[in-house]
């Protein structure tokens, strides 16, 4: 009976911890690895979210606001745990360039259906922008997490 009790407790604790982890943001280690993969770019901030889709048409993930400055080349990188990299997309947009129609940039090209881990953006207008990290349409059968990194590549030389 004592054995049964111990097994039961361990099973419930393990289940509770698994649920909690799957429903959480990415761990610090994932953020750090992602932040140090940006080559020589300087880390500015990260965007960490849990991803969960309960219904097919449900919006997942999060959006954040960020001020980007004119004359700067920024890098946006996206990291997700193994098995989820091609299910997640990071998008840069603003009110006049909506997320789903003509965003400024994205890690997923809908036309060619190709993914990229990061993209650079040369900002020519200081303003408030949005960054979102979400499951792609049709993806998200399991809970996941993802991290976006914003980094400073350098002054823009493009004129």
């Amino acid at each position: 009976m004592k054995k049964l009790f111990i097994i039961l407790v361990f099973a419930i604790v393990a289940l509770a911890m698994t649920t909690s982890t799957a429903d959480a943001q990415c761990k610090q280690q994932v953020v750090y690895q992602c932040a140090t993969q940006t080559e020589k770019a300087i880390y500015l901030r990260d965007f960490n979210t849990k991803l969960k889709r309960d219904a097919a048409d449900e919006e997942t993930g999060m959006k954040w606001t960020v001020v980007l400055n004119k004359g700067t080349q920024y890098r946006f990188s996206l990291c997700a745990p193994d098995g989820f990299q091609d299910q997640v997309v990071l998008t840069l947009y603003d009110s006049e360039h909506p997320e789903n129609s003509k965003p400024w940039g994205s890690t997923y090209d809908k036309t060619t259906k190709s993914d990229r881990k990061s993209f650079d953006f040369i900002c020519n207008k200081t303003a408030m922008y949005y960054i979102s990290i979400r499951f792609k349409a049709g993806e998200g059968s399991k809970k996941a997490c993802a991290v976006g990194i914003l980094s400073f590549v350098g002054k823009s030389t493009n004129k």
């Binding site: 300087i42 954040w64 001020v67 400055n69 004359g71 940039g105 650079d120």
Partner: protein, 303 residues
């Protein structure tokens, strides 16, 4: 006996669930209390659209961005631009401490970007004092940062960890009805970053710095309405708004127009080039006035 086992297991499960309250990385799970000394205005006293306000506060630049721009422009390091971290010993109100935390965070960013590890410790000590008095100590791992600061090899880790600490503190304040302190932190970062670039522009005038300074008009126009929300009967906030209104007055002469070049953004050498460009117009005399007023207000704020 079976029932007893199940009850015990349920108690264990409940304990695990509650003890994991901070496992999402949003906080340590520590009880947060508002320092009592002088907090006249708190978020709960103010009528506002909390989501919209927090969205604006969260959007403000990272405390390392201006420093990164200066370094990329080959501007040499200079300690004279930085605040003396010992000044925080005289900061007795949470208003002053939150502002000081933003200012020192920008200075720490500057030291990080220029890899001045030998000077970083004094700033870490100053920030620790401020975070502890603002009950934000759980987001600032002084020992870990100190360890990283003692080795030149860890400068990237130091930068990442210190910037993350800043953002975690800011997020925690906004999520716990202390957006007034969060607004002060971002104001501190903004005024110090503005001071850095204007001091550099004074010594090394060029068009790039002129543009960067002129573009701050839009940033200040977003920041001021938030600070005004907390003005109420709080003298500290009212004074700060008054000071920043002086900066706004000299920035208001800057003209910013937007030109759209093409229909779509284009890519150049793998980078997306934004096809909308803001054009900043500011004369040398106007710039000189902005530099003077920024210096005056920043020095007033830190003293």
């Amino acid at each position: 006996m079976h029932k007893k086992c199940l009850y015990l297991a349920l108690v264990c499960l409940t304990f695990v669930q509650f003890s994991c309250g901070g496992c999402d990385g949003s906080g340590s799970g520590d009880v947060d209390f508002i320092p009592s000394e002088d907090e006249v205005v708190t978020t709960s006293d103010v009528n506002y659209d909390a989501e919209a306000m927090n969205e604006v506060i969260a959007s403000f630049s990272s405390p390392v961005e201006m420093a990164a721009l200066l370094k990329d422009s080959d501007v040499p390091f200079s300690q004279k631009y930085l605040m003396d971290p010992d000044k925080v010993n005289g900061y007795t109100s949470s208003f002053k401490r939150a502002l000081g935390l933003g200012i020192l965070s920008a200075d720490l960013g500057y030291l990080n970007v220029y890899s001045k590890t030998s000077m970083i410790l004094d700033y870490l000590v100053g920030i620790r004092k401020l975070t502890e008095s603002l009950t934000l100590g759980q987001f600032f791992d002084f020992q870990a940062l100190k360890r990283l600061a003692t080795s030149d090899d860890n400068i990237d880790s130091l930068l990442i960890m210190s910037v993350q600490s800043y953002h975690n503190m800011d997020e925690h304040l906004r999520n716990n009805q202390r957006s007034n302190l969060s607004a002060l932190m971002v104001t501190g970062v903004w005024i110090e970053s503005m001071y850095l670039v204007t001091q550099v522009a004074k010594e090394r005038p060029n068009e790039e710095f002129k543009n960067t300074i002129g573009e701050q008009k839009g940033i200040l126009n977003n920041l001021l309405p938030i600070l005004k929300l907390f003005k109420g009967n709080d003298k500290h906030f009212a004074d700060l708004v008054g000071n920043l209104e002086e900066v706004k007055e000299v920035l208001d002469v800057v003209k910013i127009t937007v030109q759209v070049k093409d229909d779509l953004p284009v890519e150049s050498e793998g980078a997306i080039v934004q096809n909308e460009e803001s054009i900043v117009t500011v004369s040398d005399e106007e710039l000189s006035e902005i530099i003077t007023v920024t210096e005056k207000i920043r020095n007033k704020i830190i003293n």
